[in-house]
Assembly symmetry: D2
Homo-oligomer: 352 residues x 4
């Protein structure tokens, strides 16, 4: 059994990982670490876990937290993973970090990201950066191997945009500078901490755009798309919140460099993702929605072309807490340990 430790166990990202590990046949939870609610059983905070996982939350300094494990999930905000990863790796465990700390593999690319999001530009563990891989299996499966020890799990918006645009970009189908990512997220993406904008009465019927001046996931999207087309790539990105709990719907646009039918585009996307169990491609006449992927690790892509303007439009649906976070992290764990990629992730969601 793979023994897993979750740091940041009390947040939505942590509890999502706990839920998934409870259903994984080859992994088990070693301990749950956080800096609040120390000593409380996790099932006192999340009552749905009663009887399934009643472990207490322990402090990072707790001796139990120091016992050797095989993998550590860092369900922590930017700036934490870069401080902890070194010691964890030395202890022999592998690290999967949820934040932006290890999504970039050079000092310079990290600095650019940090600058954009207003954080200190110096990474505290720069030597680890080249050993890290961007944990999106659909693009980097061959690099997420048993030899690998450090994974930067992608941002939720990034997963939806990159998967939705990659096939077109790598085929050079889109004119540079025309890509627009119009993204709508559910509220759980903002985490567990109460805030005025996510107070039920303020949110229950409210949709709005936010951070119009720039979102932290833009960097990694541009980097990944740029790698695919071998050119510097810029996107226009709009983050929006709508009153759902889980789900991202990213509507992705780009001017086509040549005429292309929806059928041809569909075929091209199907081929690209033929070996990706978690990506489902549909034509525009399929009534896809965010609910189809809720609670699952799937990404549902609906491809279309507006023949009047020759603009490609891909609608990309994911569950921000699963394929956009814990589920994708578990997919990475499977790859890091040589397990089938879908292990523990192959059940359907619940509807309605």
């Amino acid at each position: 059994m793979i023994r897993a430790k979750i740091i940041g166990a009390g947040g939505y990202g942590g509890v999502g990982m706990t839920e998934l590990l409870l259903g994984h046949p080859e992994a088990e939870i070693a301990c749950l670490v956080d800096v609040a609610d120390i000593g409380k059983p996790i099932s006192d905070i999340y009552l749905h876990l009663r009887g399934h996982c009643d472990m207490p939350i322990i402090d990072p300094s707790d001796p139990v937290a120091a016992e050797p494990v095989d993998v550590v999930f860092l369900a922590t905000p930017d700036g934490v993973g870069m401080k902890l990863a070194g010691n964890i790796l030395e202890s022999g465990a592998k690290v999967i970090d949820y934040s932006g700390d290890f999504r970039f593999n050079s000092r310079e690319s990290y600095a650019e990201y940090a600058r954009r999001i207003g954080r200190p530009v110096d990474h505290v563990s720069p030597d680890l950066l080249p050993t890290s891989v961007y944990g999106l299996a659909e693009l980097h499966r061959d690099d997420i191997t048993q030899d690998r020890r450090l994974v930067g799990n992608p941002g939720c918006f990034a997963v939806s945009c990159i998967l939705g645009l990659a096939p077109a970009v790598e085929q050079a189908l889109l004119e540079p500078g025309t890509m627009i990512c119009d993204c709508k997220t559910g509220v759980s993406g903002a985490g567990k901490k109460p805030a005025a904008a996510f107070h039920y009465p303020a949110r229950y019927q409210t949709m709005n755009a936010y951070r119009l001046s720039g979102h932290q996931h833009v960097c990694e999207i541009e980097r990944e798309l740029g790698l695919l087309c071998n050119a510097e790539t810029k996107i226009t990105f709009t983050a929006q919140v709508v009153p759902v709990c889980r789900g991202i719907m990213s509507t992705l646009y780009g001017k086509l460099t040549k005429d292309l039918t929806e059928d041809r585009l569909f075929e091209l996307y199907c081929n690209r993702y033929a070996d990706d169990a978690f990506v489902k491609v549909s034509r525009s006449d399929v009534a896809a929605s965010s609910s189809d992927v809720r609670g699952t690790n799937c990404c549902s892509l609906v491809v279309s072309v507006d023949p009047r303007t020759n603009i490609m439009r891909v609608v990309s649906y994911i569950d921000n807490l699963v394929k956009g976070q814990a589920g994708n992290a578990l997919q990475n764990m499977n790859l890091l340990f040589g397990l089938p990629e879908t292990m523990g992730l192959d059940r359907p969601g619940q509807y309605p």
Copy 2:
């Protein structure tokens, strides 16, 4: 492997059973039967099943529907099961019926139920009634055995009320005629068919009481409670809908026959359900809610006493589509086939 057929596969009750069977290690779906959408893969109707179950919906007259199976789930409305059960039982399969058709085991008790809900009072298969068992394992586990072949799965409100009141009633703690069941249900309880009262704009912020003149689940609640206290029992029951999709919160009241502390009541309820994996009992200082049981087969009971009025109050939470329907039906299947009662039902829900 137990081969299961679902009749009424296209409704919420059917799809809930499909989801559960896909995760059950000892059962498999033989075929999906319904009278609409014939020939369509179930995954065209419920896109979240794509890749998990792509079987077509078949007509009851389809030869495939006639192939022998081990169990048939009748996810059908009142009046259907009583017509179909005889032939199914003759074919050797067991039957678990979702409707009220087999919740009563005499011609007379069925007639009373039918009268109250305005249906024909004559059961079309009256000879089967004595062979049926009321499928609530927490009360009738010893009767839901491998010898049994026909189960009437309880109504969703009934599950929440009976489990919440049974321990008090069987200890004769409540004065006759004082029991009140104030029940609030999510909208999915009304099924898949669109209706004016469940149209999103009419419902998204609407709560209301309905069927104030009488609800179809009252009969079985009174019958079950009456059996426990050996006396004719009447309840006052209010059905209400609130804008959630899944979940029932039943607040249950009764005048205590003697002084009782919350602690003593808690102990009594804990003892009563000590061997019931799906029932969780809490004191009134626990922040329980409908979300704790969402997507699971659990019933969460919060017990309290108002010392000023000496009225007992139990708040009972279930997921109406799981413990209130498909999950409870699967629990019954496990018992009918000698499997562990929790098989395929022991995973936690997802939060948030």
Copy 3:
């Protein structure tokens, strides 16, 4: 024009009053006072007020706040009004307080209330208590007159319960000790301040009972009902939150002292409220709901009798922020100034 000052202008109770005063033909807002967001236009905090009311929020110590006005709305929590009311009254203004501070008119009755809700039992302005009136016009219209200068605006749950039970209680129709108030409220009742239980992801599909050990509105309900029947009265009260923003649905039960038909009960309630513009009484076959009263000062009562148990059941719907708070306060203002009771309150809500 009546010049009105709102203290606590930044909360939901304050903004509701601002909205109403903007539409009142005989009143105008003099100033908006609060202790946070000083100097900001109220329309920067509540963008829907842009162009309608762009006054800045001012500090209580601001000279403008000291300018004479005709009425002060204290949209403040328990303990504030009792400190401020004396000076305001001396300045010549009338006071309408939202909190429990002036709902009781003796030192003793206040102390009992304070004890139950865990506050200091000594009122800081006990001499004002006898001058205060409980501001529920439907019961105390004759006492809310131009001579009156101090009003304790009732609690939201209390409005719904008292209006729903008063006609039966004053006719001695209910057996003592059998009254149960099963109350469900929308989330806005908890105010503007973010909290874990009202964070959108924690609430969007969550219903739960809370404060099972006792709610602060019970005291005033029991006092008012006691006055109506001339006897000490106790109720069993359950507070519950459901995922709506606005609205209270209180389902009220009581054992009838004699047989009574729904028709007779309906007639009795209609007669009782014949002169109350804001109370609407329906039989149980009317499809009433919380949405009918959303955004309005109405209370909708649906009366019924369960003939099997002889228990009366009244479902009482209000908008907790209007009839349960600001609207009712404006109704009181109208009475205090000799204006038609419905002035500024007679528009329908919006649907859907």
Copy 4:
């Protein structure tokens, strides 16, 4: 008093007009016409109107429906207004039609619209088309005058897109062919009729794009924008539904023809709408949302420029049932009768 008749009074568009007319000081409802629920008081169907408007719904053939009125609101689907308008105009009344029937003022332009949306291309009253005006006052105020007798009220998406793009287009700021309208609507836009996609359980947490092959409002948007820049104009348009009841959020993109700061763009938009009471322009640092305009006739525009890609982005918020329908129609009525444009429309919404 202006006497107004509403045809299609039972739908959301009709009831919205009834609500508004009840608060209009110079207009009154003459009669409510529909083809269903004949004879029922409108307040039996919409209980929030009880005591405010208890008129019965009458059949089009009812003699009362033939009594002369000053204005008729045709809250009816495509194809109805073109049949009725002729007779109404002959009777002396003015006509404001909600559908696409009179949004185009030539046989040819109507035919193109009809072709795109799959309706018969021949208008049944082609002679009326040249007398009609597109009822968007912010663009055509000078043509919506007391001389005018026929108005085609715009589509809800169209209002949000045209108001959001017009200032940029008329200044030739955008490169042809680069405009993208990414539109999200609340569910009430689909009307009152229950449908599978708008059934609460199917919708409560579901967001999706729909009609990817083309939406009926595209024609009028392209026509209006084309008129502003004197060139044939094509847009790429995506319709999406999110789980809110009321509200449209349209995110509008276009490649700038020259460098432009957000400040300059803000100034330009402010100037353009300086005389438009219902349009509010904000910079991107304002926390605007759909809730700011809920229940009101306002359009809130947030302007920004992505300096990295030189793409303009305007987020346009309206209430689809008010500025997107009944409110805008009333604004048109005011203009047709020489009344102040904001009469009956100048109250703030309610929050939260």
